[in-house]
């Protein structure tokens, strides 16, 4: 099936421009207008603006580390899935089935609280591991599909020119597969950026967490979550432009 499943955004569209513009304007305007009104009526936007940068930092940190670990897991599992050896292929497929069947939030709880009984790890490590294992199972497919998308004649041509299987894989197949793999990794990372909001339940002070703490103290849910949503929106829109650039750069000529 060629239907798109979860493409985040279409950064070349009018709508993208509009959405970026609006989210940016609101993120600046809401605190700015507070400066000119009395503190009492304030929704706390100024304070939120001062609190959120550290949340953004953690959100991006988890995204970055999670993505890196997912790539490593994905490459290993993806190559395992392509292996001719059933002793590698079957456990690896099993891993993929299981990890895809468990909700990310449950996995995060599982790693941090359940496995935490045996292995001590900071919440950040648990979060990165959770994203690595879960997204790794999807990244595996990115690698597998990227490699399988290279026509098998490429490998065979390499063989007939004198390369052995390993040389053909690493000199001919993988370099070509990266053209599709890299943008796909970008897309996964974009999805992950949004899913990092789940780490707020692990007591990591990401954007959502900072917002939650602020809102439960000041009861200004509407203002807080509006601001939090706008922050996420701006981040995902900007990252989606980055991913689009990757896709354009790597689009087959």
């Amino acid at each position: 099936m060629s239907l798109p499943t979860k493409k985040i955004s279409n950064p070349q569209s009018w709508a993208w421009n509009l959405a970026v513009l609006m989210s940016f304007i609101f993120l600046v305007y809401l605190p700015a207008q507070e400066v000119f009104i009395t503190k009492e009526q304030s929704g706390g936007y100024v304070e939120l603006l001062s609190l959120l940068p550290s949340g953004v930092f953690y959100t991006l940190l988890v995204t970055l580390l999670g993505s890196a670990s997912a790539i490593i897991v994905g490459l290993l599992v993806g190559l395992g899935k392509l292996s001719d050896n059933p002793l590698i292929r079957i456990p690896v497929s099993f891993y993929i089935e299981v990890l895809r069947g468990i909700p990310l939030l449950v996995l995060l709880f599982y790693i941090y609280y359940a496995l935490g009984e045996f292995i001590h790890m900071p919440a950040l490590v648990a979060a990165v591991a959770g994203f690595g294992f879960s997204y790794g199972a999807y990244m595996a497919d990115v690698f597998r599909a990227g490699i399988e998308a290279i026509p098998k004649e490429q490998g065979e041509a390499a063989r007939s020119l004198g390369m052995n299987e390993k040389q053909a894989m690493f000199q001919i197949i993988l370099p070509q597969a990266l053209r599709t793999i890299i943008p796909a990794i970008g897309n996964q990372t974009l999805g992950m950026l949004k899913d990092t909001s789940l780490v707020s339940v692990l007591a990591i002070s990401d954007i959502l967490r900072v917002g939650n703490e602020y809102a439960t103290k000041h009861f200004n849910y509407f203002e807080t979550y509006t601001y939090v949503a706008l922050t996420y929106l701006l981040l995902t829109l900007l990252l989606s432009r980055g991913v689009q650039n990757l896709e354009n750069r790597f689009r087959p000529a």
């Binding site: 004649e153 065979e156 041509a157 063989r159 004198g162 000529a253």
Partner: protein
């Protein structure tokens, strides 16, 4: 150069290549022709080493290659889409083979420059495969394969992805290159014209079996099986009864449509049903100039006329309902003027009728 001895191969119990024996000599352009799915590609892949035969032996230049992995066999391969490496320049594409064999870069450069000259690709040296035309891609694929000095070059329908006019042009170029580089070709195709136009010798495959091997005229004019007769070029079929035979001279009766003669050492009883073949270009109208050899004459009605520029094809229905196609090239200004519905007499030489005898 390449010798196949009773090669068989099946996939999942389904025989794909059956007991094929074949010898290709040095310098030949040998073409394997067969319908889609008849096992041509599989045969090439067996020679290249991508598949292992279930039985039989393959030797190249006298050496049994059965135990050699792909990369050690002295064969080159050209794929249908050429399989150039898109992430490397033309130069680097061609250099893949010698580099893997650890030749020195200066030596490689020298040989590539030679090859680029022969293949008229000097200007494309540092260009990527995405930016070149189909014809250029074919030449790059050739250069990349021959730089390894393979004993034989296997070509799997390298022209079938191209459009017609380019195909005709590249076919001629391929022949030229083969002569210039002096390599042995084993060429696979499902296109009869292409096979005949390219080959010095050819073989016809059907259902995994090699049916007949010979020069193109041999196969076209003396097909041993009905399959070949019908597959290779266009042909008229006349089905009738053996009415009389004296020596190899046979008279065939078409019931209401009359009789005709042919020469064949067909075995079997008189009165048996027989299917005879005659090519459309061997038929004449009554009005054509008289023949000097013995001819058959059949009466029919003109059903259709199709003009094709260089030739016209006429459909004639015999009185027993069988139809014949007659094809005339317009070597002289067109003078013949029948129209549809006319009653016509169709002539053909006795020696132009043939009956394939093998099953």
């Amino acid at each position: 150069m390449v010798k196949l001895d009773s090669i068989s191969k099946s996939f999942g119990g389904k025989p794909v290549v059956e007991n094929v024996s074949l010898e290709v000599e040095a310098g030949e352009r040998f073409t394997l022709l067969g319908r889609s799915g008849c096992g041509k590609t599989t045969l090439l892949r067996l020679i290249a080493g991508f598949e292992t035969p279930d039985s039989g032996t393959i030797s190249i230049a006298g050496q049994d290659v059965g135990s050699l992995p792909v990369e050690q066999r002295p064969v080159g391969m050209i794929f249908q889409n050429y399989a150039l490496f898109p992430h490397m320049t033309i130069y680097d594409n061609i250099a893949v083979g010698p580099r893997i064999r650890k030749h020195s870069e200066s030596e490689i450069a020298k040989r590539i420059d030679e090859l680029l000259e022969i293949t008229h690709l000097e200007a494309l040296r540092d260009v990527y495969p995405g930016q070149i035309s189909g014809g250029e891609a074919q030449r790059v694929a050739l250069a990349r394969a021959v730089i390894n000095r393979p004993k034989i070059l296997l070509l799997d329908e390298p022209l079938s992805a191209l459009d017609l006019s380019l195909r005709q042009h590249l076919r001629e170029e391929l022949v030229e290159m083969q002569r210039a580089l002096d390599i042995t070709f084993l060429f696979v195709t499902h296109d009869q014209e292409e096979a005949m136009g390219l080959a010095t010798r050819m073989g016809i495959m059907d259902n995994g079996c090699l049916q007949q091997v010979g020069t193109p005229p041999e196969l076209y004019e003396k097909p041993q099986t009905a399959f070949i007769a019908e597959f290779l070029g266009e042909v008229n079929r006349l089905t009738g009864k053996v009415e009389q035979r004296s020596g190899n001279q046979i008279t065939v009766s078409l019931a209401s449509a009359g009789t005709f003669q042919c020469v064949s050492d067909l075995p079997g009883p008189e009165n048996q049903n027989v299917t005879c073949y005659v090519r459309p270009e061997k038929l004449f109208f009554d009005t054509d100039r008289p023949q000097t050899e013995p001819v058959n004459v059949l009466q029919g009605t003109l059903l259709g006329i199709q003009f094709f520029g260089s030739h016209t094809r006429y459909q004639i229905e015999l009185t027993d309902g069988q139809t014949l196609t007659l094809s005339i090239q317009h070597r002289k200004s067109r003078s013949l003027q029948y129209s549809i519905g006319d009653s016509v007499r169709v002539l053909f030489a006795v020696s132009d009728v043939f009956i394939p005898t093998k099953k």
